[in-house]
Symmetry: C2
Subunit: 188 residues, 2 copies
C-alpha cells in the first residue's frame, strides 16, 4: 500500500496544497479552530474555492493538520528515546510539548480530539502507544513510580498542555507546574 493517497497532483495544485496547510497551521494556532476558512485562504494567497477543492470540509483541513502534527510528535518521542535515559526522555517530552502548546493551540486541539467528534484517524492512539513505550521503560529503569498508568500520564499531559495554552503560562510557571507533576511521578 502506498504511503500517500492515490493520484499525483499537478504542480500548481501541490504548491497550493502546501501553502494552504502552512497557512492553516499558522491561523489555527493563533486563533484556534474557530478561525474562518477565509482567513486561511487569504494567508495562503489563494481563493476560498481552492481551499475547499483540497479539503471538502473545514473538518478535513483540521484533520490533515493534526495528522501532520501528530507525525512530528511521535517522531519527537522516538528521537528522545534514542538519545537519553527513558525517565529523562519522558520528562523532556512533557516539557517540550507544554512549551509548544503555550504557543500553538493546535497541539491541544489534537490532544483534546482524543474523545471528540473530530476523530483524527486513531491519531492519539499512535501517540499514546509511543508514550506508553517511554513510560514502561522509565518504570523499568526506576525513574517513574510503577503504580501509575498510561491513562493518568496522558491525562496529565493533556491537562497541563490545555492549561498552558488557555491561560498562556509564562515559561517559569510552566517549569514550576511541571516540577510538581514530575515530583508526583517520581518514586517516593
Amino acid at each position: 500500500m502506498p504511503i500517500d493517497d492515490a493520484k499525483p497532483l499537478r504542480a500548481d495544485a501541490a504548491r497550493n496544497r502546501a501553502r494552504i496547510m502552512a497557512a492553516a497551521e499558522q491561523v489555527f494556532s493563533e486563533r484556534g479552530p474557530a478561525a474562518s476558512t477565509e482567513e486561511v485562504a487569504n494567508r495562503a494567497g489563494v481563493a476560498i474555492g481552492t481551499v475547499f477543492r483540497h479539503f471538502p470540509t473545514k473538518a478535513d483541513l483540521l484533520r490533515a493538520i493534526m495528522k501532520d502534527l501528530l507525525a512530528r510528535l511521535v517522531s519527537d518521542v522516538d528521537d528522545l528515546r534514542r538519545g537519553s535515559e527513558p525517565g529523562d526522555a519522558l520528562f523532556a517530552f512533557f516539557t517540550n510539548l507544554v512549551a509548544h502548546s503555550a504557543r500553538q493551540k493546535t497541539v491541544i486541539d489534537l490532544l483534546a480530539a482524543a474523545g471528540s467528534e473530530l476523530n483524527v484517524p486513531d491519531a492519539v492512539g499512535t501517540l499514546e502507544r509511543s508514550v506508553g513505550g517511554l513510560l514502561r521503560a522509565a518504570q523499568q529503569a526506576g525513574t517513574v513510580r510503577r503504580d501509575v498508568g498510561l491513562a493518568e500520564v496522558m491525562a496529565l499531559l493533556v491537562a497541563v498542555c490545555q492549561g498552558a495554552v488557555q491561560a498562556g503560562w509564562p515559561a517559569d510557571l510552566q517549569t514550576r507546574t511541571l516540577a510538581v507533576v514530575f515530583a508526583g511521578l517520581a518514586p517516593r
Copy 2:
C-alpha cells in the same frame, strides 16, 4: 453600599431573570459558551427579547453566571476550611472541583477567564485569595511542600479541570490523576 444593584425589579421581571439564569447555567454547562442565546430563552420559557432586556449582551449573561458560580466556589472553600485539616481541605476542594468540571463546562470557562477577554470582575482573584489561604495553612501544617507557590497550584487546578471536562474523564481516572498531583504536592 447595597449588596444588590440599584432598582427593585417588578415581580414578573424578577421571576424571569431567575429563570433565565437557571436556564443559562444549564445550557452553557452542557453545550459550552458557544450555545445560542435563543436556546437559553427557549429553555427559560421566555422570548429572546426578554433575555436581552436583562442582559444587554451575551457576555453579560456569561459574566453573571460565572459571578454566581464563583461565589459558590469561594463559600465551598471556606466551608471546607472550617470543617477539616487544611491539607485535607485543599485536596478535597481540588477533588470536588474536578468532579464538578467533568459535568459542568461552566466551571472551566470561569477558570479559563483568568486572563481572557471576558473579565469576570476580579472573580478569579477572589477565588485565588481564598485558595491561597488554604495553601498557606496546609504548608504551615506540613501537609504540603513549602516550595510550591499559589501560582502553580492554581495552574494545576485549571489544568486538571480543563482536562477533565474536555476529555470527559471517568471518575476513576479523575482519582488516579489527582493522586499523582497530590503526591507531587506532598512533602517528600
